[in-house]
Symmetry: C2
Subunit: 202 residues, 2 copies
């Protein structure tokens, strides 16, 4: 890995930009934020911004680049749970989102951009796929993908809804709802899939 620790100035600049962005997102929503806004608030030259990031998007996603690894480690770390319960990411994520509710609402909520949602989708897809393979030992690849898509869509949908609501539901409650809604269908679907191998003759 190319891990030469960068210049202090670089760190400073990047942090300033990241924090400015987050503040602005909370105020105006991501889409309404311009590069001008960001460098203005961060007290950084416009050209400096482009020296670091090609895009507004790059800045945002750069902040998230650490997260996937973190989650992956968390999920692997808790093998005790991971061994018996599928989708352990769910409750963790709900809690995390609850802590940073305002930011998450702005980023993953229903009236936000798609960028972060898409990123989240990608990360979750891998986790879910791994869990499904572990718990169901499916043979049909396409059925697996359909199930992954189903679980992730349902999850992100519920998450977005929950964030966007002045709701008294706790992370635990919404997590329970998620499991109750998703697990039966998956069990039935992948069970049938292995025995019956849905669909065309391969």
């Amino acid at each position: 890995m190319n891990r030469e620790r960068p210049d202090r100035r670089v760190i400073r600049t990047r942090r300033a930009l990241r924090e400015a962005l987050i503040g602005l997102i909370l105020e105006k929503g991501y889409d309404a934020v311009t590069v001008g806004d960001i460098v203005d608030r961060a007290d950084v030259g416009r050209s400096t911004f482009y020296a670091h990031f090609v895009d507004k998007d790059a800045l945002l996603l750069g902040g998230f680049s650490a997260l996937p690894t973190l989650w992956a480690e968390e999920s692997r770390g808790s093998d005790a749970d991971g061994g018996t319960i599928p989708f352990t990411f769910s409750l963790k994520m709900f809690r995390h989102a609850d802590d940073q509710r305002r930011l998450f609402r702005a980023l993953v909520g229903q009236r936000s951009g798609v960028l972060v949602q898409r990123q989240l989708d990608r990360v979750l897809s891998d986790l879910v796929r791994a869990d499904l393979e572990r718990f169901h030992a499916v043979g049909d690849d396409r059925a697996l993908e359909v199930a992954v898509r189903f679980v992730v869509s349902a999850y992100v949908g519920l998450l977005g809804w929950w964030l966007e609501h002045p709701t008294p539901a706790t992370p635990e409650e919404i997590d329970r709802a998620f499991r109750a809604l998703v697990l039966p269908g998956v069990a039935g679907f992948l069970g049938v899939a292995t025995a019956n191998s849905t669909g065309r003759s391969t």
Copy 2:
């Protein structure tokens, strides 16, 4: 209703714009299309465009404004089905999307804008809510909303995935998968299902 049939010129212009937009969406994707592109292809003055629509978005959604009513009528019309099977929109929609696959992929696919997805979300939410109320007689309003969110998210997610794939799955197959994945969870979550009709297709 204010249904004075408008001037021929108006009709002509609007149709030209709509068709130009669709063509351009198929070529470049919605986001990449500019108002300039549209009026250019439609051979319409720029100012004329703004005399009809405030936005690129308005033009697009204007085209869809007829659709919800159509679906609602379809759904109400087929009371024979509607009486025994929930979510009759599903297969219809899958078929419709299959017919216009390229356009739908550009509009509802996973790398498309959110506009149409959101519109679709709204329309489907109402349909799904109605069906859930009819089939489950729920008392808890919040549980109902959670279930609606779940069903719609799962549906739109599967639809998007299916469109974006060079997949040999027919509308019927993906519809069956959708029902198999969604119905058990809903039944369990909302309590007693009045009719336990788990996807009998034909």
